[in-house]
């Protein structure tokens, strides 16, 4: 197997995790920047729709680095899809496969279940809820918490901040609740 084929396989946690962890010192060393992504959503609001709201009234241009970082992530997605894509579909746990089949989800080849997340599904109640309400909760929740998994769980915990531990536990609690008790109701309905 040549090295490109090897790279195309899914990367195991013990490779991916440390690499992600190294983003912390990387950003600190290249410019004293605190690793975090949800703040980019705030800067976008400040740049495009500040509407005289105090929370968005600051010099967002000083945080341009964060927007370039986010743009880089998007490009990274492009490059991976074009050159490093895994030829095999994601290997999903059989128990999950069974559960998802109940909801009409059979296609595991994409990053997300195409049966739910597609342009025409947006016009169904289920699709609309999953995409729009889900997205809204991500944006609202991360701002209210003051960070996402990058800012709190990775950066915050790396710098031993207990508010980040509280936030991380809340992320997990919320996710466990919805994934196990609410999502089945939504996906079945």
């Amino acid at each position: 197997m040549n090295s490109i084929d090897w790279l195309k396989q899914p990367w195991p946690w013990y490779i991916a995790g440390p690499l992600i962890g190294l983003m912390v010192p990387l950003l600190l060393i290249i410019g004293n920047k605190s690793f975090g992504i949800s703040s980019s959503l705030r800067h976008i609001c400040a740049a495009c729709i500040p509407a005289k709201i105090p929370f968005f009234t600051y010099d967002w241009r000083k945080e341009t680095w964060n927007l370039f970082f986010a743009a880089g992530i998007l490009l990274g997605g492009c490059i991976t899809a074009l050159f490093l894509a895994d030829p095999q579909p994601v290997q999903v746990n059989p128990k999950l496969v069974t559960e998802l089949a109940q909801y009409g989800i059979h296609d595991h080849t994409g990053l997300l279940p195409v049966e739910i997340f597609n342009w025409s599904a947006l016009f169904t109640l289920k699709g609309f809820f999953m995409t729009v309400a889900g997205g809204f909760l991500v944006g609202f929740g991360t701002r209210y918490a003051g960070g996402c998994t990058s800012g709190h769980s990775i950066m915050g915990l790396s710098t031993l901040q207990w508010p980040s531990l509280v936030a991380t536990m809340s992320f997990m609690a919320g996710g466990f609740l919805v994934a196990n008790f609410i999502l089945p109701l939504i996906l079945n309905g």
């Binding site: 990367w11 195991p12 946690w13 440390p18 962890g21 190294l22 010192p25 990387l26 060393i29 410019g31 004293n32 605190s34 992504i37 705030r42 976008i44 609001c45 509407a51 600051y58 000083k62 370039f68 970082f69 743009a71 880089g72 992530i73 998007l74 490009l75 990274g76 997605g77 492009c78 490059i79 991976t80 994601v90 999903v92 746990n93 999950l96 990053l111 997300l112 597609n118 947006l122 995409t131 997205g135 809204f136 909760l137 991500v138 944006g139 609202f140 929740g141 918490a145 996402c148 998994t149 709190h152 915990l157 991380t168 536990m169 809340s170 992320f171 919320g174 996710g175 466990f176 609740l177």
Partner: protein
């Protein structure tokens, strides 16, 4: 100068850069490249996969816990080394750490984000990466997230912190 308690805009006071000097675009390129690297890692490690997130919340796979856990350990070690050896930035500035203040938002907002994470299978970083891989409908998820951020900003004075 007023004490800056809003850490996300901290660059206003700890950034050594003279506000009058405008950076050449090459300054920002390094952050684009860092993001590129991060995006590749996110996609290749399947952190951006809705299916992997569902497995995580159902305790059906160790993978995501391994990723987050080893990332945190690596981050902790790096920060410790930076502090111990007083590592400086590329431009020779000392590296500064700002303490995050606790707020009830850590709990309430955290739970709400958790709900959204389980539904969409993504946190903000993966949203950008997913769009990059060609999953265009996620643009709507991202726009909804921006809307959520905006609404938070508008009503935050009436929320418990």
């Amino acid at each position: 100068m007023d004490e800056n308690t809003d850490f996300e805009v901290r660059s206003l006071d700890v950034n050594h850069d003279n506000p009058v000097i405008k950076h050449r675009w090459t300054y920002h390129l390094k952050f684009l490249l860092a993001g590129l690297l991060f995006g590749i890692i996110l996609v290749k490690s399947e952190v951006v996969s809705w299916f992997r997130i569902q497995e995580m919340f159902r305790l059906q796979s160790f993978h995501m816990f391994g990723v987050i856990g080893s990332a945190v350990v690596t981050g902790m070690l790096s920060v410790w080394l930076i502090k111990k050896y007083k590592v400086k930035t590329l431009s020779g500035e000392p590296i500064v750490f700002i303490a995050k203040k606790f707020s009830k938002g850590n709990i309430y907002g955290g739970l709400l984000f958790g709900f959204g994470w389980a539904i969409t299978g993504a946190c903000p970083g993966p949203l950008f990466a997913q769009i990059g891989t060609g999953f265009t409908v996620v643009i709507i998820t991202l726009l909804s997230a921006i809307a959520g951020t905006w609404v938070y900003g508008k009503i935050r004075a009436s929320l418990p912190h």
